[in-house]
Symmetry: D2
């Protein structure tokens, strides 16, 4: 994976200021564990409210987690005041999720001027074993400040 | 849109029994407004907890809503005891979401034996105006009872 | 489907000038049957060279056809000298293709300033019956002239 | 990348027998350079007929190449007489393609019983430099012999 350089020297505090006000990611139980240039890691405990009717992680939680880690991975690279918006995202579901903790990893794969290509992965940690639940690919638009 | 025929005469109660235990869709505020053969409509009020940092609907909520209405649209057609699981979903974001109510519509477009192709749409209702926020296409696998 | 207005009054001749030099679409047998604002229709006879090993239309031909009709649908709307490039495309395969003629239809669904959302459909005409082979969704970038 | 084991000890000759009759992949100039368990590599010289109107590789060629290497990667793993068909494919275009040779690489990422998740990459070789043109993710169905 190519290393990216942020256009914002204060990207950690900029991303944290966005995360703080991101009501939906808080509502679904996410904590942000890594904020690096072009990379975000977030996780959630296996609460009942992220599950579907058979006791597995809900696919909607998984797609939301992919969107969140991809989007904030984009935010680590843009200039102060620029914003990142999802143009489209595709999520493929590899394995059912069950365990104690769910982890999402988002990376910027290519950072263009107008949009970024990002990729996400979601893992379930089940008794120490890491299961790949889903992979995502996404296009993110960079919204320039006015 | 072609009309589908359910393989389950009791599909309404079957789908309702699944929705009831779907913790995640309850957690993000969804109510199910229509349960028809091959079609589901669900909505949520514009609560703060479905928003991102700029006051718009979070893209992760939108993708989750697409997944939920597409998946339950699949559930309306399968046999009692069969289940439906998302293989993959792609969501394209057309417009930002703001308003008083968010509506998701999911349809089965083609019902094969082993998997269904579904499509979803998400609208924001803002002062009576209906804005198309997102469109989704999805592949759902039919899990046969053992 | 919302009607679009081209930013180029001479869009028909502009698109034709692009099609003429589009070696790949000629190579795979395409003829362009309709060039309208935000809409393109192209077709090919069921030649052996568009088939795979079982005598059906090759999925790669189908995805190429989707890309071509979506891309040129975008070209009908842009200004003279602007170009349209595919950011991403997803194709879902509904039915195998066999028959006498294959038709692709591409539409711009939303025309933004920087990119367009397009949708494609591919049909096989088999003894007068029209079979939906595939549906596509695509993001196209508008490349502004320098 | 996890190593896969074919369900067919004669997978090389089985795949070759399919490639031979694959008219479309021949028509667009492909040669198959590697046939391994869960992995296919194919390439084409930079002929005029794979180009679009600006002298770059046509996006439709690229999506077709992704479909072909992903599909045949699936064919390396199935039983004799089983077939592999594309359910859906998404291609993201990272860079324009220009050079002397185009290479496609397809891998099976997860081999389930009923379907495979595959990923593809397309590179342009330009004066010895390798440029990543596109990445693809795909779902392939395993068609069981009757």
């Amino acid at each position: 994976m190519k290393k990216h350089t942020s256009r914002n020297p204060n990207f950690v505090s900029y991303v944290k200021s966005k995360i703080e006000k991101n009501y939906f990611s808080n509502h679904i139980g996410l904590t942000f564990d890594k904020i690096e240039e072009g990379y975000i890691e977030a996780s959630a405990p296996f609460e009942t409210f992220i599950q579907q009717q058979d006791g597995y992680v809900h696919g909607g939680f998984t797609s939301a987690l992919c969107d969140i880690v991809c989007g904030f991975a984009g935010y680590t690279l843009v200039e102060e005041q620029q914003r990142v918006m999802t143009v489209e995202i595709k999520v493929s579901y590899f394995n059912r999720g069950i365990g104690q903790k769910i982890i999402g990893k988002g990376s910027v794969v290519k950072a263009g001027k107008q949009f970024f290509f990002c990729e996400g992965e979601v893992y379930a940690i089940n008794n120490g074993e890491e299961i790949l639940m889903a992979k995502a690919t996404s296009t993110m638009a960079v919204i320039h400040k006015k």
